[in-house]
């Protein structure tokens, strides 16, 4: 079956612009996670959804970052007023359901470059 997909695969934008990154989880997976991976670092947790609601958004770095999952499947990570420091690979993962006993399946990521 299809894995987690993310679009676009690459995004180049200018400082100050707004971007949206999309994640399509594996069908039927209720849990969805967003991570950010900066160069030379491991993935860093941003937010976790269980169904439509954000169960834990403590990893979002500031109020420029926002994520939604309105129908409990596709999720969009939104970044306002982008800054050069936002440049990173944004990873999405899904699992059949929490808690962490369920394996998280990762997408290939969206590479964001802010000029």
């Amino acid at each position: 079956g299809a894995g987690v997909s993310q679009t676009p695969s690459n995004k180049v934008t200018e400082k100050g612009k707004y971007v949206e990154l999309r994640c399509d989880p594996i069908s039927g997976h209720t849990a969805l996670y967003w991570y950010r991976q900066s160069l030379g670092q491991g993935p860093e947790f941003l937010i976790y959804f269980q169904g439509t609601g954000a169960a834990d958004d403590s990893g979002l770095p500031n109020d420029r970052f926002f994520a939604v999952r309105p129908e409990g499947s596709v999720s969009t990570l939104k970044i306002q007023r982008t800054e050069r420091g936002d440049s990173a690979v944004y990873l999405c993962a899904s699992s059949p359901g929490g808690p962490l006993e369920e394996t998280q399946y990762f997408g290939p990521g969206t590479r964001l470059l802010v000029l």
Partner: protein
Amino acid sequence: AQSVTQLDSQVPVFEEAPVELRCNYSSSVSVYLFWYVQYPNQGLQLLLKYLSGSTLVKGINGFEAEFNKSQTSFHLRKPSVHISDTAEYFCAAANFGNEKLTFGTGTRLTIIP
């Protein structure tokens, strides 16, 4: 808060030699531990995980890891590596009851023919 340390950023190993990738975690509370692998141009893939029970965990592709509570370690091992094992390996941990995975900075495994 949980933290994960991978002391070796790069590990070169000859083909068919054994390898150990080191991982230490910080939390003293009940913890879940994971190893993920990232092959070139691919997404992260779970190698193995420790939730409870036996401290020796076997994963895919011949890898295994041992949970050592007294050493707060979860080192990854393989008795004989292949060229196809060339990848970046990430150790991750989460506290029981918390959905957040904390990753280490990764170890790049390079296999020398």
